[in-house]
């Protein structure tokens, strides 16, 4: 018993001050890319050649990256000699609409808006999440799991992963949804009482990730239900996930 108390004292208080306070992210973290289409060279498509998932949508003046497909591997940045693509450390990435995941030149990126109306009022103080891994590789799953640990402690925002869809307000899907899991996912969604929200976590759940186009998968959660929140990344950093969840339930402090 004394040992338990001693170790409790040694371990200290570890819950992060974020979102009120700041948090230091790894300097090499590949977050939201910034594009300079004006730097694009005519006729060059190196970025598109090296992109593993076809996330480069346009070239030259229309240079655009679809963060829904992007694995944040940085191959395009390495391949781009004039430096038209640069990945920044910016971890805030989650959007409400799928099309808002497309990054173009110039400022502006439309992050997820809080839920409004009845669901907004219902979920602002308590949002219970049923997580379904449908072909997930256990990285997105791990970074959702970690939100329950004392470092992130999402319970302080009324967010909690629950065991039964009957207890859930939200279904968080990871993975490209293999055919083998489509029915189980559909049943889980159907078993979640309405109003409910669907959250696609990671490149696989948004657009199939590295498995996009495989005959064995359905390229993400949309085959069962459209997502109300899309959190890009492969996997997204836990803070990117939590940031998205807080925006959705309207718990992100103003100005953050």
């Amino acid at each position: 018993m004394l040992q338990v108390l001693l170790s409790r004292w040694q371990q200290g208080y570890r819950t992060m001050a974020w979102p009120e306070g700041d948090v230091v992210l790894p300097d090499r973290l590949r977050g939201r890319p910034v594009l300079r289409p004006e730097a694009c060279r005519d006729g060059c498509d190196r970025c598109r050649q090296v992109c593993p998932t076809g996330a480069i949508l346009g070239l030259g003046p229309t240079l655009a990256i679809d963060l829904g497909r992007c694995l944040f591997c940085g191959e395009c940045e390495r391949a781009c000699a004039p430096g038209a693509i640069r990945f920044t450390n910016e971890h805030r990435l989650a959007t409400g609409r799928r099309e808002d995941l497309i990054v173009r030149g110039g400022p502006g990126y439309k992050l997820a808006e809080p839920l409004t109306g009845e669901v907004g009022a219902l979920f602002a103080r308590s949002c219970k999440i049923r997580q379904v891994s449908a072909g997930g590789c256990n990285a997105c799953e791990a970074d959702i799991n970690v939100l329950g640990t004392l470092a992130f402690d999402m319970g302080r925002f009324g967010l909690q992963v629950v065991a039964s869809p009957r207890h859930a307000d939200a279904v968080a899907v990871t993975g490209p949804v293999p055919h083998q899991m489509k029915l189980a996912l559909a049943k889980t969604v159907a078993a979640t009482p309405t109003p409910r929200v669907i959250i696609a976590v990671g490149a696989c759940a948004i657009a199939g990730g590295p498995f996009a186009g495989h005959a064995e998968v359905n390229d993400g959660a949309a085959c069962v239900a459209p997502a109300d929140l899309s959190i890009p990344g492969c996997p997204p950093h836990p803070l990117t996930i939590l940031d998205g969840l807080l925006r959705l339930i309207g718990r992100m402090p103003a100005g953050r």
Partner: protein, 540 residues
């Protein structure tokens, strides 16, 4: 040894691999396993008329990656016959032996005389519509159509194959009941189905049915390498990103003759051990949680993340995404970063010790761990278990010691062994490995070789150097779950004709089923966590 010899990370020309008659092949594999060899891989690949690996169907690579995998039921081998290959590992000889056979449409199963072949032969039957005659437990393992015409179970072509709909083994009798769990489980965990035959609380038999996570990875790898290949490696089992991408890098380097510089080898070994630390620490926390011992559960959840954050310090990704590529590593450790790594490592290691030693001092924890889910050494050997699960049953197997590659040739990690085979042993072996990985990391950080971290030339993307034609390469890595085996066979154009992946979980799921025999069903979560196997690594 009658087969072709290959060292770990080495290659052999396909024509030098002896193609034995079925009986000689059968005898060679059975006798080798009886004499202590491991069955690292046993798989089929489609054979073109000229004896080369047949070009894979579908999955055409286009600019920017693949547009689509091959259509179900048509790709892979077409109507070609199938060649079977077995890769045997000989720890005492420090290398592997490769033998092959051309079995026709059916062949006498090895499984009755060689239990480690059990899961492999079910996979061969499912993928290639061959029938291993006399297989005692011939059922699908992933529930998909074969990749050539026909079906090992005679299911008509048009019928739908539903996941885990099979003839489960049933125990009959008064007071016998059946418990079915999954595919969707209560926690944040991958899907799988577990069927228990119980008498009251007591489990007579557990049958594990998987396949829900099948993403078609092996078929997509055939025809590569291409820009997507490294990413498929990193997501084979996302918690083993470094392990699988390292196996791939070694394999490509062995085929091309490109040598990763010493500094890259050191950074790779550092990353592999950080991955092991994060997962082992997380597992000990999860085991504590499953017996209701919350202090360790809570601390280890955080500490696992601290190790992941050290990986992120190295390469920006908590899982090591983007770090390992053929030819070296993508991120170097500048002096400031190295210093920061050293400074942040020690407090985490200290906190891990304080959190984990609580377990061994708590009699209530030990009472739940000890004698629970016991897998005796004979069973572990017979099933061919790998990794910490095998070492906890007294089986001395560790790729880092038996077949060292990369930095493990210069710096050894002692093998951690315990004899008892129970949950306690699987937990304590992890603790021993945590301490040894920490000591290893300290040595790596203290003596990081100078020089570049990538080989010269355009090799790093893994897709820019053509591979030599008609080669078979073998690559073994001791991931945190155990032995990872990748085997590639190149076609005449220097592409992967077939790329075989064996995740350690493939060997170990049967171990979990055996651990549950005669246990109370309420101990399933604890036993399951003590193995903590990969679903996607199995389902591919």
């Amino acid at each position: 040894m009658i087969g072709a010899r290959v060292i770990n990370g080495g290659t052999v020309p396909v024509r030098d691999i002896p193609v034995l008659g079925m009986e000689a092949f059968r005898a060679a594999v059975i006798e080798a396993v009886r004499d202590g060899a491991g069955l690292a891989a046993y798989f089929g690949y489609p054979l073109a008329p000229d004896g080369a690996v047949a070009p894979p169907g579908g999955g055409a690579a286009v600019a920017g990656g693949r547009t689509g995998g091959a259509p179900a039921g048509s790709a892979g081998g077409g109507t070609h016959p199938v060649r079977l290959v077995a890769v045997l590992t000989w720890p005492m000889a420090g290398g592997c032996e490769v033998v092959a056979t051309d079995p026709g449409e059916s062949f006498p199963a090895l499984t009755p005389d060689c239990p480690p072949a059990h899961w492999f032969e079910r996979e061969i039957a499912e993928q290639w519509a061959l029938r291993p005659e006399g297989h005692p437990w011939l059922k699908p393992i992933r529930y998909h159509r074969a990749w050539r015409p026909g079906d090992a179970w005679g299911r008509p072509p048009g019928t739908e194959i539903l996941p885990c709909v099979t003839d489960f083994f049933r125990v009959e009798g008064d007071e016998i009941h059946e418990v079915a769990v999954g595919p969707v489980h209560a926690g944040v965990i991958e899907p799988g189905h577990f069927r228990f035959q119980c008498h009251g609380e007591q489990v007579f038999h557990l049958e594990i049915a998987l396949g829900y996570q099948h993403r078609g990875v092996e078929r997509a790898l055939a025809g590569g390498p291409d820009p997507r290949t490294p990413h498929l490696m990193e997501t084979l089992a996302g918690d083993t990103t470094i392990g699988h991408s390292l196996a791939y890098a070694h394999l490509v380097e062995g085929m091309t003759g490109v040598k990763a510089p010493a500094r890259a080898l050191a950074i790779r070994a550092l990353a592999l051990e950080l991955e092991r630390l994060a997962n082992h620490v997380g597992d000990l926390g999860a085991l504590a949680n499953d017996v209701g011992f919350l202090p360790t559960a809570s601390y280890c959840g955080r500490l696992r993340g601290d190790f992941l954050n050290l990986s992120a310090l190295v390469c920006g990704s908590r899982f090591g995404r983007g770090l390992v590529r053929p030819g070296g590593v993508r991120f170097d450790l500048d002096p400031a970063r190295l210093e920061s790594l050293k400074n942040r490592f020690e407090p985490v290691a200290r906190d891990v010790e304080s959190a984990v030693t609580l377990l061994w001092r708590s009699s209530s924890v030990l009472a739940r761990f000890e004698e629970t889910g016991r897998v005796p050494r004979e069973t572990a050997l017979a099933l061919g278990l790998v990794g910490p699960a095998a070492r906890a049953s007294g089986v001395e197997r560790d790729v880092r010691m038996d077949f060292p590659t990369g930095f493990y040739r210069f710096l050894q990690v002692p093998v951690a062994l315990l004899p008892s085979g129970d949950v306690f042993a699987r937990a304590f072996v992890r603790w021993l490995e945590i301490q040894r990985s920490e000591a290893f990391i300290r040595q790596v950080l203290a003596g990081l070789p100078e020089g570049p971290c990538q080989a010269d030339g355009p090799v790093v993307a893994g897709s820019e150097v053509p591979l030599p034609p008609h080669l078979l390469g073998v690559s073994l890595v001791e991931g945190w779950r155990g032995e990872i085996c990748h085997v590639a066979v190149t076609d005449g154009a220097g592409r992967f004709g077939w790329y075989k992946v064996v995740d350690p979980s493939f060997h170990n799921w049967m171990g979990l089923a055996m651990a549950l025999r005669d246990q109370p069903i309420s101990d399933f979560p604890l036993c399951n966590k003590s193995f903590n196997l990969s679903y996607c690594g199995h389902d591919l």
